[in-house]
């Protein structure tokens, strides 16, 4: 019996050693600031060649841009498809397949296309191909509704396309940097028909050569890419690993050189690791409590306002994101061009209580759908604790995402849901979807004439500064005054990479671009 005890002791000791070994490895290196742009990109000349493996969190939902439905698809679509319009890290439009554009009046957009571009299958990219794509995106079989303002598409000459709009819509330009601007080969669509999504053909820097669903996607460099000298890499492999620990292990064991979507907890630990470079960039996506304003208790404006004042956003940012996040007082993060950095919502329990009193209520209880993942559960518990003092009792309903979204948006059985807004390239898309009467995320569908007028005015302006002014007014009206929705906080997106990976630049959209990375080895 004594020997057995000894064996148990030895085993337990070894387990303890293993565990302590794991935790000490990340703390033995000294702190090294590694946020911001990945170092070295400006000092070194990019090197050609090599193959890069990326650990990414979810597989693409469909390789046909008009059929996919997930915001995580973009990073896997970018290598294959170029977009008509590009965007930079601050989400300003830059030339893409369209080298320039003009708006002779507020209902016309003329695109001047790059010349000498071909699809992977040799088909020529020209004005006809653009028309084919834009018509396809607006057809019944498409899931995209961003181009609903296009009345017709006219081919002016081989490299010029004119879009005639049925209403002024400045969001159309950045919409063309999204799925709507991804150009697929007309010949390939014709040839493959229903099987097109298994055989994607674009003009992008890489060709998709193999796709193992939920496993990995292999890309090979497009030798005839229209941008001289690009891409640098010969091969790009994206491995799908939904579990973050799996991605982290893949990076640490050298199976991947880049891992996307580092949680705040892990980024704290990785900051001190000299063998890993982090890139952190604030993004448009934010955690949000959606309210159905036609259901009890949120059909009363005072109740919504009270909830808006009862949340201490700064404290949530500190407690849950190690201060990496940013309190959300509007639908955009401070550093975005459409935001006004001065907007705030005060944390004011007294005001919240008196607002509830005004509504004739002492305590209010309501159901809130929360996705059943650990971070959401912690966030929900923290919010529940905060608003309790003001007189709110939240019944947290943890559910798997598809189910909860369906119950809230479709069947309208729940008055609120805590999920996130994933962000869109153009601020109009965000405001339209979240706050307008027709917006999908405005589950109650309530709106006011004033709000709709402001949204329409913002869409009719093509001047960034003027538009930003309108978005400030819209936020003051719909978020602050009417409390249609309760924004909580923005959290940056973080990628972790080995030091030899160069050329990465995070963007406000938070959708990483892997195409033009290079390896310094």
């Amino acid at each position: 019996m004594r020997t057995a005890k000894r064996i148990v002791t030895i085993f337990l000791l070894s387990v303890v050693l293993v565990i302590s070994g794991c935790s000490s490895s990340s703390s033995k290196n000294n702190a090294q600031p590694s946020t911001g742009k990945s170092a070295g990109a400006e000092n070194n000349e990019p090197k050609q060649g090599g193959s890069l493996t990326v650990a990414y969190d979810s597989d693409i939902s469909n390789y046909d841009p008009i059929l996919g439905n997930s915001g995580n698809d973009h990073s896997l679509l970018y290598p294959v498809y170029d977009t008509l319009v590009g965007y930079n890290s601050e989400l300003e439009a830059v030339p893409g397949l369209a080298k320039s554009w003009e708006t002779p009046n507020d209902k016309t957009l003329i695109l001047h296309l790059q010349e000498g571009v071909t699809f992977h299958d040799g088909t020529v990219f020209d004005a006809e191909a653009v028309k084919f794509n834009l018509d396809r995106i607006r057809s019944d079989q498409s899931n995209i509704s961003d181009l609903s303002s296009i009345e017709s598409v006219e081919v002016m000459d081989e490299s010029t396309v004119q879009l005639n709009l049925n209403r002024p819509d400045s969001s159309i330009i950045l919409a063309l940097s999204d799925r709507s601007g991804m150009m697929v080969s007309p010949a390939a669509v014709e040839k493959f028909g229903d099987d097109y999504s298994q055989n994607p053909v674009g003009t992008g820097p890489f060709k998709m050569v193999k796709w193992v669903r939920n496993g990995e996607i292999l890309f090979e460099a497009n030798d005839h890419y229209w941008q001289e000298g690009l891409p640098y890499l010969d091969k790009l492999t994206v491995k799908i690993m939904p579990d973050e620990n799996t991605r982290l292990n893949a990076l640490k064991s050298g199976q991947a050189q880049f891992y996307w979507n580092v949680s705040p907890d892990n980024s704290q630990a990785l900051k001190t690791d000299q063998n890993i470079v982090l890139d952190t960039k604030m993004k448009l996506a934010f955690y949000n409590i959606y309210l159905n304003t036609t259901m009890e208790p949120f059909n009363k404006k005072e109740v919504r306002q009270a909830l808006q004042f009862a949340i201490n956003r700064e404290a949530l940012v500190k407690a849950l994101t190690f201060n990496e996040g940013e309190a959300a007082y509007q639908t955009f993060p401070k550093e975005y061009w459409a935001a006004n950095a001065d907007l705030t919502i005060s944390y004011d329990l007294e005001k919240a209580k008196s607002l509830l009193k005004e509504a004739g209520l002492e305590r209010v209880s309501f159901e809130m759908f929360v996705p059943s993942t650990p971070f959401y559960q912690r966030l929900a518990e923290a919010i529940k604790g905060q608003v309790k003092e003001a007189g709110f009792d939240i019944n947290i309903e943890p559910m798997e995402l598809t189910k909860g979204v369906s119950l809230y948006f479709n069947e309208k059985q729940l008055p609120s849901n805590l999920t996130s807004w994933t962000g869109r390239p153009d601020p109009h898309q965000t405001v339209q979807l979240l706050l307008s009467g027709e917006g999908f995320y405005n589950a109650g569908g309530e709106t006011t004439a004033e709000r709709e007028e402001l949204i329409a005015k913002a869409a009719a302006s093509y001047e960034a500064e003027e538009r930003a002014g309108y978005y400030e007014q819209i936020n003051k009206l719909a978020v602050h005054e009417e409390a249609m929705t309760i924004p909580i906080m923005f959290v940056p997106s973080t990628g972790a990479m080995l030091p030899q990976v160069k050329g990465f630049e995070g963007t406000l959209l938070g959708k990483p671009k892997f195409s033009f990375l290079w390896l310094d080895e």
Binding site: M1, C22, T402, E411
Partner: protein, 315 residues
Amino acid sequence: MFFRFLLRRIFYVIPMLLITTLIVFSLILLIPGDPALALLGDNATAEKLAALRAQLGLDQPIIMQYWHWLTNAIQGDLGRSLFTGEYVSDAVFTRLGVTFQVVAMAMIFSFAFGLLFAITSVIKPNSWMDYIARFFGVLGTAIPNFWLAMILVVLFSVHLGWLPATGFTSISDHPVDFMKSVLLPSFCLGSFGAAQITRQLRSSLIEVLESDYIRTAYSKGLLLWQVIWKHGLRNALLPVVTTAGLLFGNMLGATVVIESVFAIPGMGQLAVHSILQRDFPMLQGVVLIMVLMILIINFITDVIYGVLDPRIEFE
């Protein structure tokens, strides 16, 4: 005789398949969450939703949808994924190969360790070897395999760098890489099985070794290993075969977790993914194949009974 047994077993399989697929079909349609909404996302207007549901056949009663699926399935057409548009049969069979290789290795592990521990422990009951075997028997049952998986990955992949942390290489592509990629997952998957087999085999061996014919074998002057191997093990293996059949089903279920820890693109991952997305045709395909596999294993188990024990007849 055997042929008739075979026929009857195949005949049993049919109602079994019908019932399980119908149950799964109704269950996934009963849980809230609409694939049409998942597909359309924020472009979902009431008209678009209705149109897409009609196109996917989701507006019909469950029994009609099932009938539709069934009649196509009988003709070998399992349909296409609602999301990616790939053929369900292609997707399921590529993943089946992956999962089968992992589970087969896990079974080999279970048996190798199970036999080793059980035999060493009965050679001298209550010796230190017996204690080690019993200790691992308890440990293997008690340790959750996903935890074991994470610890092993941190130790062998991240710290020592001996084995890949993730991914899978097929045995047909590269046998050495296959062994490397499958070692940790199948060990984690098989640890429970090894423990079960150890416990089962140990107790049945002890029982068998006390019986009269073993005494007779000893008195004939046979060596210890001859007694255990020829007379003991063969008689003690029957309950183990039953356990092994059950273990196989168990392991298929456990792949759901293990495959996601090791990022192995197998059946388990496909099942989880399809459930979360409400990809009905894909999920039906997965369930159908899993049920079929378990039925086949049950059948094989029955045949092995007959081989091990000639007294059992196939009736």
